[in-house]
Symmetry: D2
């Protein structure tokens, strides 16, 4: 951290500041330039988190030269994190696809979708039992009934289950059924919830908030990691910008940025990222080519009858066709689809 003094700040002001810094357990390093004096702080920056240096007389601004996250940082954990979801690997160089309906609506819809996405090559089934909805009048999920249907689909297909948790109240319930606990964009900075997730022993998939910087997103991951749960999967799902041609602006730049800054795996969700089924194939391919560890895609047997997010759901046929493209792309990039090589290995014996 560097503190920039105002032009004309006095020696007395500088001394007062230095004293305050030292009291926080940090060393001080002063550098007098032509226009400005700058003060470097040396030590564990967590000591000075949120300290109001700009309230000190003579201080103009505070400049952060390192990122505030530590456990989420690649600096302190150079190797990529590999997450094992009951046999399915996320983050180890293979590409994993999570697919399924936005909401679990009924048994037929879920099972038809589950068998189809399994057949097409997905490893993980998505489906919401608790749905955040902008309107209080909209369908908001089947609750536990939905979770039970997901468990049945897992039983029948072997797919793992990822489903959203919206509040601490339902944590135990969701943990009973989910293989991965999904935290939605609107809850990315629900700090009490994040603290609870630090105490569980299942992987957490943390979606990026609509207006969250990548740094804030990694700080949200830091909450979970610092609580003792090392298994955080990041999911880019679009940010809010001025553009209205898409529901959100899927920010694929986040993929190489996260790769550089962090060791955590990152998944791309082009369904929410664009909000338009017709744009999902292009952005799925782009997500893989950008280097993500996988995709999360909404699929519905009949999008025109979907109770939520129909406009962005692929049909079963569209999904199967996309998966063929993805496989070709994965091969061209020298990667492999999760689940595929091992099967090949077994067969080769």
């Amino acid at each position: 951290m560097v503190i920039v003094m105002r032009k004309g700040a006095t020696e007395q002001e500088l001394e007062t500041l230095k004293k305050a810094i030292q009291e926080l357990g940090m060393q001080v390093h002063v550098s007098k330039g032509e226009e400005r004096t700058i003060v470097g702080l040396i030590g564990d920056k967590r000591n000075v988190e949120g300290f109001p240096f700009t309230s000190y007389p003579g201080v103009e601004s505070v400049v952060h030269v390192t990122h505030p996250f530590k456990l989420a940082s690649r600096d302190f954990h150079p190797d990529a994190t590999l997450i094992d979801v009951d046999g399915v690997q996320i983050g180890g160089g293979s590409i994993v696809v999570m697919a399924g309906p936005c909401s679990v609506e009924n048994r037929d819809q879920l099972l038809e979708t589950a068998f189809a996405v399994k057949q097409a090559g997905a490893q993980i089934l998505r489906g919401g039992a608790f749905k955040p909805r902008t309107s209080p009048y909209a369908f908001n999920g089947l609750g536990e009934e939905g979770l039970k249907l997901l468990a049945e689909a897992r039983e029948l297909t072997g797919l793992k289950i990822v489903t959203e948790l919206m509040d601490i109240e339902n944590l135990d319930l969701v943990l009973e059924y989910a293989d991965i606990v999904q935290i939605g964009a609107r809850n990315m900075q629900n700090f009490p919830l994040l603290r609870e997730l630090g105490r569980i022993n299942k992987p957490v998939m943390l979606k990026r908030g609509l207006s969250a910087t990548i740094e804030e997103w990694l700080m949200a991951a830091e909450y979970v990691l610092s609580g003792g749960n090392p298994n955080v999967i990041l999911c880019e799902r679009g940010i809010r910008t001025f553009e209205t041609a898409t529901r959100n602006t899927l920010d694929l730049n986040a993929v190489p940025v996260v790769r550089r800054l962090s060791h955590l795996p990152i998944i791309v969700d082009p369904s929410h990222g664009t909000g338009v089924a017709g744009y999902v194939p292009a952005m799925s391919r782009a997500g893989i080519a950008a280097g993500s560890d996988g995709l999360m895609i909404e699929v519905h047997p009949n999008p025109a009858k979907a109770l939520s997010d129909g406009a962005q759901s692929l049909t079963i046929q569209q999904f199967a066709s996309l998966m063929q493209e993805i496989r070709a792309l994965v091969a061209a990039l020298g990667l492999r689809m999760e689940g595929v090589e091992e099967a090949a290995g077994v067969r080769s014996v």
Copy 2:
């Protein structure tokens, strides 16, 4: 709601769509233009909330011609809502000022601030006992101890108390002490929490989310209103934009927009809106001049020692001086300060 058909959509596609609309209990009104056919939907739009019309063949886009909120709309409630907080009026043409520290830190800090802001003309004391913090390593509030200190400050000064609730877990606890329950920007779309707030009988102050449109903000209010609690106060506290010279971009345009669209009172928070104490007086004056019902301002006896948000806190002297400016402005605008007329009345006897 208007559905726009693609150029070249067939009669068959139009018929299928019309049938779907009618099954949702809406009437259909078709209008064939030179380039496009458009389909108007007539009826209660809550019937079609979230329905995936764009998944129907031949449909290009869906255009919303009315706002999705109803209880929050001025159309259905032409008179401004007046909220009585145990004798302090919000929204009735008088200007109310809420002031106090970002966080309750200790008894001395809180009481010194409370007496001072009361003296300067504030009617409501703010202070956080539960603090949302971007970093898991930062101070996050005194919890119930903080609430007790707020209650003591109320006892001693007569100020009403507004304090933040972060989760359903602490709802009963916060209700025991608060006069107004504040919901922070990051929780504006915490839907389970909003539903609970619909069931309480205390006013809720709902801060605008960092990337929330005004429409989404009013939909969040709709959650509370539709649950049965009519007392929602909106609070503009800055949105996230590309500009980094201020912590957030305080969007004062929201004041006249909310006035036009809704009957709910609106408060402006220039402290979070700018993040810089030096900008708070200008934006406080501007907030009043834009037509808000009041201000929420962070004040600290010694910002340089504040445990949170020191950089944006006014000193007691700065706040007192700002209140003098506000009073002159309020008089020039033909408004009155909440609490002052009555005092004047008493004196005139």
Copy 3:
């Protein structure tokens, strides 16, 4: 400027970087922290403008600790700049109002508006003869004919003229008629045009770009100032954000920020800032209360017949009524309206 080295950067990398910095004529100041080494650069930062330090091995990032503008900075010019437009003062503590139609449409429209805004207290007449339009099919101004009408209106009313220049081709033509040359938001970073404006001897009103940071805006002013023209007026007219309830998001925070960073006067344009006539009075009042040096407001005798921007134009009556409010506000803030004191002086004789 501070250069942050990567964790693990070698001594050799540091030496190479130091050498490069010294070759640019700057001094180096190295500070070794626990996690990172940081390198301070001391000297005239214009020496290193745009230098690709992040291409050097071992460099993680470059952090700017001072602003890149110099002539526009209050640090180097502590007193506020006062601009004299042929007798009308801008920036000297009095409030100036510029008003008139978006486009000059015809003689009757312009003269009716000019006499009316003069009567209501405006000092400067606005009106576009060259109009930037998003569509190639829309009305784009009367050109020189419009300029001649503006000159006639000046002759008849005594108002000064501000009008937009869109390209270097028309610079001489516009200079022949205008008292203030307006540069629109879309031209804020038209650098060849800015360079030309540095060579003229009339004031330039520089509107903020739709997505320009305040720093970039002041750098655009720096272009004009560094060319030798000291008379730049800034005009905040709204930025582009995700919010669609207003045409733009008028960013009044820019007023105190510019006040702090620069000595140049700043005007607020609530007409473009909101795009909605009904929001103009509130945001005009707020602009004054925030500390601007004046307002620019669109007025039309019959907005429903306007050839451009009718939706955001006030009628003559609405403008007159707003001016009364502004006068009361100006008095309450201890300011004065430009032109008024002198009139009072004359009368007092």
Copy 4:
């Protein structure tokens, strides 16, 4: 276009509006809903471009149901536009790569880069002779000297030349040397310049403005097309958002959106889009996978010595390595590299 009446608008207001619409040469189609009456306008919407309907009493809002561009629209030009740049095809299903330095700095730098990018598979050489720079103190290009060097590089390598035009003054000069005239992001809405480009007979590459919606971008293209020049290439180069981890936010969503709305070819510029050389390979791959017609990439023999944009320039080796990845990707996607098939054909003889 649909006009939404206010709740409670009178019959008289509706009649006045209808009359105004008919006078503009449009037909009216009224639809009375439960809450609102909506009025559809039928006819050529260019008749009503910019008409201030919201200034009419009783009108609440205007909703656009079709896009404002016509010549740029795929509706009116279903086949993709194929642009022939003196033998190099853009937009016909093959992938074209434009590469070279940000600025032309000197003969050695340019020729070394040109031979290297040619060797690696690029078809078009980029290089700026006129550079838009945020600071008036920064290097702003060699001017005509730079153009001559580009022409020499073309002569020696056979590469085509794309270079930026910043103003009308230099149009003839740039046309003398360039094969494609590049319009930078800051000039995307420089309307006088766009009008001139409609009259030339060379292709124009139009970069997306920093805060331009896709619709505005296509309207800028419409300016050129409506002037009579059918050869417009779009170039996505990043938009401005709140995220600061990248210089801009490369919006790859624009690729499928433009594909759907328009017939014009689209190129992706990951160098400006991210601003960081390390992110360029990932976003180049993603740009191709998203369906773009090609890439524009900054390459410099020694980025650490570059006079502009060194931080985002690839070295010659990095570029060669990226081109290998691109070729594999292009093959996997069933596409072909521009220039390659013909070479193969020659060899097969």
